[in-house]
C-alpha cells in the first residue's frame, strides 16, 4: 500500500478523536491570525460594535501591535494555546476579558475618604480633575464601617472622619458625590463597605435617583415649585447645607452643583409619581460602580462584620435579587476580595484560592435562592492585592481562567458570566516605615504586574501609607506611577506583552493547580462555611503571616532599606511630618447634621424602622425596603433595628 494512504488512514482516525469544537479552533486559526494582523479590530460588547486600532506607532516609527499571536506551527501547540491562553477577550480569558483596552479610560481608581462628606467631595474633585473618566473610590471612617452614627461619646468621637469619610445619612451621601453625574456612562463609584453595605448602597442609589430628579426638575422648569415646597418644609425644620468648614466659601473646582439642590428632600416628595418612577428606573439602570459587600472575607480576615453571618448573607442575596428585578446591570453587587486576606498575611496562592472559593460560595447561595446564573454572575467582581511575590505576576490570569472554566462547564453560564473582572490594589503590607522613598519603587513594580496582567481597575498606594494617611502630594505621585506605565512605557502598549513567556505559562499552571489543591482542602472541611466554623482560613492566614514575619526578621526575605542595604543612620523608622486628622469642627458639624436629620425625620423614622423589621420578619426583600428606609433613618438607627431581628455578629477565636 502507498505510504501516504497509510498515513492518511491514521490521520483520519486521529481526526475522529478531535472534538468538533477543537477542530473548529484549528480551522479558524489562520483567520484569527489574519484578523489580528489588520489595522483595526472590530468586536461586540453587549450588542455594541466597537472598532479600535490594533497598533500604535513608536517614536522610531515601529508599528507596535497591541496583541501579538504566537508563531506556532504544530497544531498541538496551536490548540493548547487557544484552549489555555487564547487572545484577550476569548475563552478561557487567561489574557484578559476584553479584546482590547478601552480608549481614553485608564484603569486608575484612587481611594479617598477623610473627614466629613464635603472634604472628601473636594478630594474627589481634585483627583479626578481633568480625567476623561471619573472613577471614585470611597473609604469610609471606622464608625461608618461598623454601621454606627457619629456621636460625642469620646470613643466614637475620636474616630469620626478618621482614615475615611463619615457618612450617616442620605444627605451625607448626596454631598459626598455631588458635582459628579452619577448616571453618566463615564462615572463609576466604588464603595469600600461591608457589614453595613446594604445601607450605604441604598444611600448611594437614592443619591443617584435624586440627581436624576434634579435633572428632571431643571428640564421641566419646576424649580420655583420645588423651592416653594422646600421653603415651607424648612420653615419648621432645620435645612441641610453643603458646608466645608475648611473651605467655607466655595465649591471645589470642577463641581457642577448637581446633587445639592434636593438636600433634605427626596425626589419622591417633589416629583409626580410617574416622573419619579422614570428617574428611579433610569438611575438604577445606568449607575456604574461597585460595593465591596463581601461578608465572607470579613469573617476570615478583616473583622468588620456586624450582623450574624447568615443574616449578612441573606442581605447580600436580597441586594442581588433587587439588582435583577430592577435591571441594575452596570453595578457590581459585590467585590469578592482577596486584598484583606493578603493584607492579613496570606500568601498569593492562599489569597487567590480563598477568594475564588468565596466567590463560588456566593454563586451557590444565589443559585439556591432560585436566581439564574446569567442574571447575577455579571454583577460579581473581584479584588486582589498585588505584592512582590512571583505568583502575583499571574494572579489575574489564573483567576480568570479558573472562573471561566467553572462557569462554562460546571454552571453552564453564558460568555458574559464567564468573564471575571477584577480590581487590583498594590500591597499596603509590602510598604515599610523605613526608607519610605523606596515604597514607590515597590508600588511601581506591583503596578507593572497588574497592568501586564490586564487588571480592569487599579489603585496604586502612596509611599507614605505605611506611616500616615496619604497627602495630596503623595497621592499624586501614586497616580503618576500608573499613568507613566500606561502612557509612557512602550512595552505596556502591547496588551498581551507577557503572553508566550515560558516562565509565565508554567507559573500559571502551577498556581492553578495549587488553587485546586486548596479547594480540595476547603472541601474536606465542609466547604467555605464549614471551614470558617473551624477557623481554618483564619489560622492559615495567621500561619502564613508568621512565616513572612519570621523571614523578614531573620533577613532570609531581603527587604531593601528594612533589613538589608541600610543607610549610614541605620534606616530608622520615619515619623510622619504632616498628619491628617479630621478636625473637631468637622466632627461637630457631622453630629449636628445628624441631629438635624433626626429632627427632620422624627415623624417618619419610627414607622420606617417598624416597616423594615416587619419586612425582615416576613422574609421579604430587606434591600428593597431599605431603599425607602434610608430616606428617613440614619445608618445607626437602621443597624440597631436590624440587630433586633437579624442578630449581631458573634466574635470567635
Amino acid at each position: 500500500m502507498d505510504i501516504s494512504l497509510i498515513l492518511q488512514k491514521h490521520y483520519n482516525q486521529l481526526r475522529q478523536q478531535l472534538s468538533p469544537q477543537n477542530a473548529a479552533l484549528l480551522q479558524q486559526w489562520e483567520t484569527l491570525k489574519e484578523q489580528y494582523s489588520g489595522a483595526d479590530l472590530a468586536y461586540t460588547v453587549r450588542n455594541k460594535t466597537i472598532s479600535q486600532p490594533l497598533t500604535t506607532t513608536s517614536l522610531s516609527g515601529t508599528k507596535i501591535p497591541k496583541v501579538v499571536l504566537p508563531q506556532y506551527a504544530d497544531w498541538g501547540d496551536v490548540l493548547r494555546w487557544q484552549l489555555q491562553e487564547n487572545v484577550p477577550g476569548e475563552f478561557p480569558y487567561t489574557a484578559g476579558v476584553f479584546p482590547l483596552k478601552r480608549d481614553g479610560e485608564d484603569p486608575t481608581r484612587m481611594f479617598a475618604g477623610e473627614g466629613g462628606p464635603e472634604r472628601t467631595n473636594r478630594r474627589f474633585h481634585y483627583v479626578s480633575h481633568g480625567q476623561p473618566a471619573i472613577r471614585l473610590s470611597t473609604a469610609f471612617d471606622s464608625v461608618t464601617l461598623y454601621g454606627e452614627d457619629p456621636a460625642l461619646r469620646p470613643d466614637i468621637f475620636g474616630k469620626v472622619g478618621n482614615s475615611g469619610v463619615s457618612i450617616a445619612t442620605i444627605d451625607d451621601a448626596k454631598k459626598l458625590y455631588s458635582g459628579f453625574d452619577l448616571c453618566a456612562p463615564n462615572t463609576s463609584v466604588s464603595m469600600t463597605i461591608n457589614g453595613p453595605a446594604p445601607m450605604l448602597l441604598a444611600f448611594f442609589m437614592n443619591a443617584a435617583i435624586d440627581q436624576e430628579c434634579e435633572k428632571w426638575i431643571s428640564q421641566h422648569e419646576q424649580w420655583p415649585r420645588v423651592e416653594e415646597y422646600a421653603q415651607a418644609k424648612f420653615e419648621r425644620l432645620p435645612k441641610p447645607a453643603y458646608h466645608n468648614p475648611l473651605v467655607p466659601e466655595t465649591l471645589p473646582p470642577g463641581h457642577s452643583g448637581l446633587g445639592l439642590r434636593l438636600l433634605g428632600l427626596s425626589g419622591a416628595e417633589v416629583l409626580p409619581p410617574e416622573a419619579y418612577a422614570k428617574c428611579r428606573q433610569t438611575a438604577l439602570q445606568q449607575v456604574r460602580g461597585t460595593v465591596q459587600a463581601d461578608i465572607l472575607k470579613e469573617d476570615q480576615a478583616q473583622n468588620t462584620c456586624i450582623f450574624s453571618t447568615e443574616f449578612a448573607l441573606k442581605l447580600m442575596g436580597d441586594v442581588q435579587e433587587f439588582f435583577i428585578a430592577e435591571k441594575v446591570q452596570n453595578f457590581y453587587s459585590v467585590s469578592i476580595s482577596g486584598y484583606h486576606i493578603a493584607e492579613a498575611g496570606a500568601n498569593p496562592i492562599t489569597q487567590l484560592a480563598f477568594t475564588l472559593a468565596n466567590g463560588f460560595t456566593f454563586v451557590e447561595y444565589y443559585l439556591s435562592r432560585g436566581m439564574h446564573i446569567d442574571d447575577f454572575a455579571p454583577n460579581l467582581s473581584f479584588f486582589f492585592s498585588n505584592g512582590m511575590d512571583p505568583e502575583y505576576s499571574v494572579i489575574g490570569r489564573v483567576a480568570r481562567r479558573i472562573w471561566a472554566k467553572a462557569m462554562k462547564y460546571k454552571y453552564n453560564a453564558n460568555e458574559r458570566s464567564q468573564k471575571l473582572k477584577y480590581h487590583i490594589q498594590t500591597s499596603g503590607r509590602s510598604l515599610h516605615a523605613q526608607e519610605i522613598d523606596f515604597n514607590d519603587i515597590r508600588t511601581t513594580l506591583q503596578a507593572l504586574y497588574a497592568i501586564y496582567d490586564n487588571c480592569n481597575s487599579l489603585h496604586t498606594n502612596a509611599y507614605d501609607e505605611a506611616i500616615t494617611t496619604p497627602t495630596e502630594e503623595s497621592v499624586r505621585r501614586a497616580m503618576a506611577i500608573q499613568l507613566i506605565i500606561n502612557r509612557e512605557l512602550g512595552s505596556a502598549k502591547t496588551e498581551n506583552f507577557m503572553q508566550g513567556s515560558f516562565a509565565l505559562e508554567q507559573m500559571t499552571e502551577l498556581v492553578e493547580e495549587a488553587v485546586m489543591i486548596e479547594f480540595d482542602r476547603l472541601n474536606e472541611r465542609g466547604g467555605v462555611l464549614g471551614a470558617m466554623e473551624r477557623m481554618y482560613q483564619r489560622n492559615k492566614i495567621q500561619e502564613e503571616s508568621m512565616h513572612y514575619e519570621t523571614q523578614k526578621h531573620t533577613g532570609e526575605l531581603p527587604l531593601i532599606g528594612v533589613n538589608t542595604f541600610l543607610s549610614k543612620s541605620g534606616s530608622p523608622t520615619i515619623l510622619p511630618g504632616e498628619v491628617i486628622r479630621s478636625n473637631t469642627e468637622e466632627k461637630a458639624q457631622q453630629i449636628a447634621n445628624l441631629e438635624a436629620f433626626w429632627e427632620r425625620n422624627a415623624l417618619q423614622s419610627q414607622e420606617s424602622l417598624d416597616r423594615l423589621r416587619q419586612v425582615a420578619i416576613a422574609n421579604g426583600n430587606i434591600f428593597a425596603e431599605l431603599m425607602h428606609t434610608v430616606q428617613h433613618c440614619s445608618l445607626g438607627q437602621i443597624t440597631t433595628a436590624l440587630y433586633e431581628v437579624g442578630g449581631q455578629y458573634r466574635r470567635n477565636m
Binding site: S19, G76, S142, G158, K159, F360, I402
Partner: protein, 470 residues
C-alpha cells in the same frame, strides 16, 4: 487587708472600638499567657465602656488594648476617665498602635495616666518578650498598693450605671480565690438558683450561655443574672485564656455580671473557689446565677456539686452511640442540648441521646419529644431550638427550684428560609476542582492528537511532493 501571694496577674485584652485589627493583640495575649497571666480576651471592636466594665467585673490588674484606626487619644483617655469615675483608677492601662500613635500623642497619654503606650521602637529595643515582662511588672500588685487600697475608697454607689456594685462583688471573689478572709457581706445570703452548664470543649457552651442570658435579660426587665465561667489554667505556665467573653454579646449589660475564673492549681473542670464565687453572687442578690464549666471529658460530673439545675451541652459528633454510655453527665443532667444541630446526622444523634437518657433513668416508655433533650443552633440568631431550651430551663427552674421569673415571649426575627448552602451542594468546591482538572486533561489529550495530526499531515505532504533529482 493583707493579700495572700502569689497572685496571678489578670489582664483584659481587646482591640479598640470599630477596629478589626486583632492580629497584634492576639500575639500579645499569647505571650502574656505564656508568662503566667490570666487573660480575659474580648477580641476586636470593643467600646471603652465594654472594656472598663469587664476589667472591673473581672477585678483585673490591667487592660491592654491595640488601636490602629485612629481616635486613640480620645479612646485611651476615655477609658482612664471611666475607670477613675468608677473608683478603679488602680487598673493599669497599656496600649499600642504601631506607627499610628505618634510619639507626642503617646507622651500626652502617659501624662494623662496611661501606664504605657508601646511604640514600634520599644518593639525593637525591648523585643516582644521585653515588652511583656515590663507590662507584667507594672501590673504586679504591691501589698498595700493601689490595687488593695482601692476598696477602702469605694462608696456604695454602683459604678457605670450597673444595678449592683460590681467592684465589691469582683473583689470579694478575688479574696476568696486567694484564700483571704472574706469581706463582710452587706446583704443576707439569698437563695438564687444556680444553673450549671457543662459539656465537651468546643460544643458551644459560651454561645449557648450567651443566648440564655440574652433571653433572660430581654424577658424579665427587672431581673439580674450573674455568670461564673471557668476555664483551665495551663499546667506548664500557670497562665490561662479566659475566652468566654469574646463570644458573649449580651453580657455587657447593667443587669448582668460575669466573672471568669481560671482553675489555677486544680486539675478539674472547675476552680476550687467556685462555690465561694457562687455564694458571693447569691449574697449579692442576683436572681439567677449561671455556672459555666470548662470543657469536660466523659467522666466529669463535678458541676453537680455546685448547681441546682444542670444543662449538658454536646454536639452530634460524639462517634458511636456506645460512647454515650460512658458520659456521666447524661445520667444526671436535667436538660441536654445537642448544639450545632445543623450538622449531618443530627436527628440520629438526638435519637441516640434520648435512648441513653431513657436507659439511664429507666424511662422506657417515654416518648422522645417529652424528654428534656433539645437540638440547638446557638450560632443562629433566635434559634427555635434555643427558644425551646430556654422554655425547658425555666420550667425546670420553677418545678425543681421554685424559681418563678414571670411571663415572657420571644421577639420575632428575620426568617432565613433555608441553609446558605443546601446540604446536597456542599461538595461544590470539589466539583469545580474536578471540572478544571478534567478540562486540563482534555487539553493535554486533544493537543496530543492535534500534534500527531500535524506530524502526519507534514509526512503526507512530503510523500505527495514529487521527488526532485539532480
Amino acid at each position: 487587708m493583707k493579700p495572700n501571694a502569689p497572685h496571678n496577674i489578670r489582664l483584659v485584652t481587646a482591640a479598640s472600638l470599630f477596629d478589626g485589627h486583632d492580629a497584634a493583640i492576639n500575639i500579645m495575649r499569647r505571650i502574656l499567657q505564656s508568662h503566667g497571666a490570666e487573660i480575659i480576651h474580648l477580641g476586636h471592636n470593643r467600646s471603652a465602656k465594654d472594656i472598663v466594665e469587664t476589667a472591673i467585673e473581672e477585678d483585673a490588674h490591667g487592660i491592654a488594648i491595640t488601636s490602629y484606626q485612629g481616635g486613640h487619644v480620645e479612646f485611651f483617655k476615655y477609658i482612664k476617665d471611666l475607670l477613675d469615675e468608677s473608683g478603679c483608677g488602680h487598673i493599669k492601662i497599656f496600649g499600642g498602635g504601631g506607627g499610628t500613635i505618634l510619639p507626642e500623642e503617646a507622651a500626652e497619654l502617659h501624662q494623662y495616666g496611661i501606664c504605657r503606650i508601646y511604640s514600634p521602637d520599644d518593639g525593637r529595643t525591648m523585643g516582644l518578650e521585653g515588652m511583656i515582662t515590663h507590662l507584667l511588672q507594672q501590673c504586679r500588685p504591691e501589698p498595700d498598693g493601689p490595687f488593695w487600697k482601692a476598696e477602702a475608697s469605694w462608696d456604695n454607689l454602683a459604678p457605670l450605671g450597673e444595678h449592683k456594685d460590681i467592684r465589691r462583688i469582683a473583689r470579694a471573689i478575688t479574696h476568696a480565690e486567694l484564700g483571704n478572709p472574706s469581706m463582710p457581706q452587706s446583704l443576707p445570703a439569698r437563695t438564687a438558683p444556680v444553673l450549671g452548664i457543662t459539656g465537651t470543649g468546643g460544643a458551644g457552651k459560651s454561645s449557648v450561655t450567651d443566648e440564655i442570658v440574652r433571653r433572660f435579660l430581654n424577658s424579665f426587665l427587672d431581673k439580674t443574672v450573674a455568670v461564673v465561667s471557668v476555664d483551665p489554667s495551663k499546667k506548664k505556665t500557670g497562665g490561662a485564656l479566659l475566652g468566654d467573653r469574646i463570644r458573649m454579646n449580651s453580657i455587657s449589660h447593667p443587669r448582668a455580671y460575669m466573672r471568669s475564673l481560671a482553675t489555677r492549681l486544680d486539675n478539674t473542670a472547675l476552680s476550687g473557689h467556685v462555690q465561694e464565687a457562687l455564694d458571693i453572687c447569691k449574697a449579692a442578690g442576683f436572681d439567677l446565677v449561671i455556672l459555666e464549666s470548662a470543657g469536660v471529658g466523659q467522666s466529669d460530673a463535678s458541676i453537680l456539686d455546685h448547681c441546682d439545675l444542670s444543662l449538658y451541652i454536646m454536639t452530634p459528633e460524639f462517634g458511636a452511640a456506645s460512647q454515650l454510655e460512658k458520659i456521666n453527665m447524661l445520667d444526671y443532667a436535667d436538660v441536654v442540648a445537642i448544639n450545632k444541630y445543623d450538622k449531618a446526622g443530627s436527628a440520629d444523634a438526638v435519637a441516640d441521646v434520648c435512648k441513653q437518657y431513657k436507659r439511664s433513668r429507666n424511662l422506657w416508655t417515654a416518648a422522645n419529644h417529652e424528654l428534656p433533650v433539645v437540638g440547638t443552633m446557638a450560632s443562629k440568631f433566635n434559634d427555635e431550638g434555643i427558644n425551646h431550651l430556654f422554655d425547658l430551663l425555666l420550667e425546670k427552674l420553677a418545678s425543681k427550684c421554685q424559681a418563678h421569673f414571670g411571663r415572657y415571649a420571644f421577639g420575632s426575627t428575620a426568617k432565613v428560609s433555608q441553609a446558605i448552602i443546601p446540604p446536597k451542594r456542599t461538595r461544590y468546591l470539589s466539583e469545580i476542582a474536578d471540572t478544571v482538572r478534567q478540562y486540563n486533561s482534555m487539553v493535554t489529550q486533544q493537543a496530543e492528537v492535534a500534534s500527531k495530526m500535524y506530524q502526519l499531515d507534514g509526512a503526507i505532504k512530503i510523500c505527495q511532493t514529487p521527488q526532485q533529482h539532480d
